[in-house]
């Protein structure tokens, strides 16, 4: 579980983070201002909020590629509801509810239908995103109540945005859940050996269902924040986010085989991501170059331990 190697990985991430800070502040005079950094957080908070439950899911041995599609679907649902005149409270309920429902569909496919999670979520990803396109086509929904904007655009205190505060709160909650409670322990067990877990009296399929539902719910949260920040909805919203979110999780040291990982690692990875995206943007380097680094980092994350173990 919490092997020494993991601590070393988190240290490495922290080192990369600090190094990145130093490099960017040298390269750009605008970098080290509080306002700039506060703006920077918006680059990753929404994705990182989804990375938290997804980390739990991957540690438990499953995967969910449909998270970005769930965000889109929830956003479209909220947009439609808003067009019908729903208030902020109702919109949040609909966003969260859609996400939860979508997560339950994933959970049902995997836990009851016995469909492997990668296959099920490829299917639901296409289904949910397809539903968003089918409903909205090439329209854009921009009709949101003013009070709705506070989630994505508001500040809690000083430079700390509501999004950042929420992310910090969730990160703490997830960390406590995963590393201190018995359900977190079960998550690791199910990922490390689902059969032995079942033979230890654990209702494995019920846990997996719950984790998918949780991931869906938090995708709904991200949808609320993102839609609130952008003030508009289109079916292509959050396109490509699933890969970035999964990359965040794997970069954070969570093993794709299941049974290993930490929330701290995911948080650090999310920070590294946000830093890189923002820093490169500040230097006018297009995002696609970042994706080369992301790809290389991903492969290094899994290759380095493999090479070390071969000795």
């Amino acid at each position: 579980m919490k092997a020494a190697s993991l601590m070393r990985w988190e240290t490495m991430l922290a080192a990369v983070l600090i190094a990145g800070f130093v490099v960017f502040s040298i390269l750009s005079p605008y970098f080290l201002s509080v306002d700039t950094l506060s703006d920077a957080t918006f680059n990753f908070t929404e994705r990182a909020i989804v990375a938290l439950p997804l980390a739990l899911l991957i540690i438990a041995g499953d995967i969910d590629i449909s998270v970005a599609a769930i965000i889109a679907l929830a956003s479209v649902a909220m947009g439609m509801a808003s067009a019908q005149g729903a208030g902020t409270g109702g919109l949040v309920a609909i966003g969260l509810g859609t996400g939860l429902l979508a997560g339950c569909i994933n959970g049902a496919l995997v836990a009851i239908g016995r469909v492997p999670s990668i296959v099920a979520t490829i299917g639901t990803m296409t289904l949910f995103r397809g539903a968003a396109y089918a409903v909205l086509g090439d329209r854009v929904l921009k009709d949101y109540p003013d009070s709705f904007a506070i989630f994505g655009q508001g500040y809690l205190v000083g430079p700390v945005s509501i999004e950042l505060a929420l992310f910090t709160l969730f990160a703490i909650l997830f960390s406590v859940f995963l590393h201190r409670t018995r359900w977190g322990r079960v998550t690791f067990a199910v990922g490390a050996n689902p059969v032995a877990s079942r033979y230890s009296g654990i209702a494995v399929n019920r846990y997996r269902f719950a984790l998918f539902a949780l991931t869906g719910l938090f995708s709904g949260v991200a949808a609320v924040l993102l839609t609130s920040r952008l003030g508009s909805t289109r079916p292509s919203i959050a396109q490509g986010w699933e890969l970035e979110i999964i990359s965040m999780v794997i970069l954070g040291g969570v093993s794709v085989w299941g049974g290993k990982g930490s929330i701290l690692g995911v948080v650090l990875a999310a920070l590294v991501f946000g830093l890189m995206t923002f820093g490169l943007g500040l230097m006018n380097i297009p995002g696609i170059v970042l994706s080369i680094f992301t790809g290389l980092l991903l492969i290094l994350v899994v290759a380095v331990p493999a090479l070390v173990n071969r000795r």
């Binding site: 016995r114 099920a120 299917g123 539903a131 909205l136 086509g137 085989w257 080369i292 980092l297």
Partner: protein, 328 residues
């Protein structure tokens, strides 16, 4: 003397049922829109599905070996851009070197995936996620973000896939040839049978002297080579090359494999099934505008078809141990 066609458990019946379903769908659409079954229309359908068929067959090899290739579309795009840039720089060299370049480049890109999975035993999903990003980014670096337009492509470059033979485009002929080769090879060649074994039970395969990792390496290399050639064909067919071509197409390819009966757990899948899966998706895509359903429903319907297909397959995957049924 009859040659026993080897049977992968349940697949022959599944393919037959699916073929019947596809035919039924085709007939249903034709019944409502007689214009759908004209030779011109069918040729167009083949043309639209040709690249998907070839990519799906390559992906099938990878999935059968218990891998997955998410980088297949990025591979295609990168090789397509390479082909376009090569052609822009040396238009007089004709199509043959372009084809060779695409094939080799795609094969090398696929081999990178294969090496990481074989030698380092890295999880295929992470490896191909990584290479997908790297290859996409490489397109940008190669082209500086600029497009290669139709007027920058030589006549032969553009004409090759569009040439017609018996009313069917060269592109379609290529995909038919590839499909036929796959159907033949999957049943007759030793390498393919070894791949089935390696994917079905890697441990037992080891005991029999087959290296499952090496089979995966070969699968990734072949898949990459196909993707490379399809890169040129795509760019030539659509007469444009830029960073984002075929963005997200890997999911359509994987979906076609899943609908076609390839099991994600490895060791099962037929070339015929995959081709049928592609044709099925193609018919749906072509018939939507006819039926008056906006193209925006295409994705949703695809998703529904995938889910139905995998739910049915998951059901089949229960081999009961027959203690009581075994005869004394």
């Amino acid at each position: 003397m009859s040659v026993a066609i080897p049977r992968i458990e349940g697949s022959a019946r599944r393919d037959a049922v699916f073929a019947a379903l596809t035919l039924a769908l085709f007939l249903a659409v034709t019944f409502a829109f007689p214009g759908f079954a004209t030779p011109r229309s069918v040729a167009g359908l083949l043309d639209d599905t040709a690249i998907l068929i070839m990519l799906a067959l390559g992906q099938m090899l990878v999935i059968m070996g218990r891998g997955i290739d998410l980088s297949i579309a990025a591979n295609l795009a990168l090789c397509g851009m390479m082909a376009a840039l090569f052609n822009r720089a040396w238009p007089g060299m004709g199509v043959a070197p372009v084809l060779a370049l695409s094939l080799i480049a795609g094969g090398l890109l696929g081999a990178c995936n294969g090496l990481l999975v074989w030698k380092l035993r890295l999880p295929p999903i992470v490896v191909t996620l990584g290479t997908m990003s790297i290859y996409r980014g490489a397109i940008y670096l190669l082209s500086r973000g600029a497009w290669v337009n139709e007027n920058e492509m030589s006549r032969e470059f553009l004409a090759f896939p569009r040439g017609e033979f018996l009313g069917v485009s060269v592109l379609s002929w290529i995909s038919l040839a590839v499909a036929a080769a796959f159907v033949f090879a999957m049943q007759r060649s030793k390498a393919a049978r070894d791949l089935y074994a390696a994917g079905g039970n890697p441990e037992a395969a080891n005991y029999s002297g087959i290296d499952p990792g090496r089979m995966q390496f070969l699968a990734y290399t072949i898949c990459g080579a196909i993707a490379g050639v399809c890169g040129y064909l795509w760019v030539a067919r659509f007469a444009v090359a830029y960073t984002d071509i075929a963005l997200g197409f890997e999911l359509s390819v994987i979906a076609a494999c899943l609908i076609g009966g390839v099991a994600i757990s490895g060791g099962a899948g037929t070339a015929a099934g995959v081709v049928l899966g592609c044709v099925f998706i193609g018919i749906i895509r072509s018939s939507l505008p006819l039926v008056g359903i906006s193209v925006f429903w295409q994705m949703f319907i695809n998703g529904a078809v995938i889910l139905v297909a995998v739910l049915l397959s998951a059901r089949q995957r229960q081999f009961k141990r027959t203690i009581l049924e075994a005869r004394a």
